[in-house]
Symmetry: C2
Subunit: 146 residues, 2 copies
């Protein structure tokens, strides 16, 4: 049985967001922000729907979480994201000073780690949580596109 | 006399945006997007006003320009920004595939160049346009803060 409030539990919620993106014909990436075991933001990639390259799941999650908290720093929060953040999202996470970032699948080509970037020194990073599930959604999406 | 539609002419418009930010007690950075010599987006840093770390001038300018054009790629556009973009904004500019980026002052500490990042291969970069004016606004702002 899935443990309540584990990283897998919350990543599953982020994966549900990625599935919603998939259904909207968006590259399926989902994110949530959790603060004190409460989900305070949910989002999924909306770059096509909004015709906006900045509308990645993480960007929306950061904005929504800050809006919920009434402050721009996400110091007691964890972001769960189904795919390794890109340079833009890593830059935004840096500015947010978020406490933890839990990543699903790696993105060898576009992920921030391939650019030798680091998040904020205060940010703990956990990788590979339900990575196969996150990756499978992406592979299915691009296969269907061909 | 200032030449019409020169980079200096448009950077002056971006500097006016930075001055608006200054008046709002925001770190004074301004940006505009120009397409066929027409300004299609104007913005300034609003991170404090919106309590949102993603509300940099460039991010808003990219979103507004794409909204104006009805497409997410800014292929025939130039972004003028009074300060060298950070990692987040450089990442967003990469995704936008913008044609040109004209930068005012350098940001040795937080700018994307210090992180060895590159913009899109299709993007021409021009640096140091009215750099002193852009830098002076920032120095005045932080001096006043002390």
């Amino acid at each position: 049985m899935e443990e309540l409030f584990s990283d897998e539990y919350f990543m599953q919620k982020a994966l549900q967001e990625a599935e919603i993106a998939y259904e909207k014909d968006e590259i399926p990436v989902g994110a949530i922000v959790v603060c004190n075991n409460k989900i305070i933001a949910k989002s999924h990639n909306l770059t096509e729907t909004l015709t906006d390259v900045t509308a990645h799941a993480e960007m929306q999650a950061i904005t929504a979480a800050a809006n919920y908290l009434g402050g721009k720093y996400l110091k007691e929060c964890t972001l769960y994201v189904t795919l390794e953040p890109c340079v833009m999202c890593a830059g935004a996470l840096y500015w947010s000073q978020i406490s933890r970032v839990v990543i699903g699948a790696a993105d060898e080509k576009r992920g921030f780690k391939s650019k030798m970037l680091q998040l904020h020194p205060k940010t703990e990073i956990v990788e590979g949580v339900l990575a196969n599930e996150g990756k499978k959604l992406l592979l299915d999406f691009f296969q269907q596109k061909r």
